[in-house]
């Protein structure tokens, strides 16, 4: 399945991207992707463990299941205000 990953703030800077499409096995979860990104982008090591998970623009638990066409983002500590 194909999942769109979006990057913001420290994650955008660390990956050098706004987003990318990942081709994942159908049993992949948000946790799978977190591990995969940690491996692919070592510079994410510091921030990734502190990120919440947003699936299709809503907060979900760290192990949320994914489906083809989903939009996934790791949300770093908030700084609004």
């Amino acid at each position: 399945m194909s999942v769109r990953i979006r990057y913001f703030a420290a994650l955008r800077e660390a990956t050098g991207r706004d987003e990318e499409l990942l081709d994942l096995p159908s049993e992949a979860t948000a946790a799978t992707v977190r591990a995969l990104l940690a491996e692919r982008y070592p510079s994410l090591a510091k921030v990734l463990p502190r990120c919440a998970v947003a699936l299709n623009r809503s907060y979900v638990s760290a192990g949320a299941a994914l489906h083809d066409g989903d939009e996934l983002a790791f949300i770093p500590p908030l700084g609004g205000g």
């Binding site: 913001f8 500590p77 908030l78 205000g81």
Partner: protein, 140 residues
Amino acid sequence: MAAILKITRDPLDAAAVRALVEAVSYPGAGGLVTFEGVVRDNARGKRVRYLEYDAYPEMAEQEMATIAAEVERRWGTDHLAMVHRIGRMEIGECSVVIVVACPHRAEAFEACRYAIDTLKATVPIFKKEVAEDGEEWVEG
């Protein structure tokens, strides 16, 4: 009215803030409370040069809509504007404006306070502090 909920790159200058106040006001409103978050010249003991805000705009506006729905449920008003600017902001520039109008002041104060507190806790907006001695994405 429909609440005004927006992530923008445009400056929240005097005219922009005033336009939001006018938009939210209505003939039955007795109290208007406006909160403006402003870039301070210091944070965590550091001298701040400027801030850079980023956001997940689609999700941010959706989370703002959740806040607006709760404001309507608890304080009975949909006369609400909540606008957060992103991009680079200098000291003294406004990063966020929230305006609430209600028949009575107590509700307007409480709803405005709730909106900014909840925005900080739930809306995906991110802040980089650029200080004299380096830059850092920070929480809060």
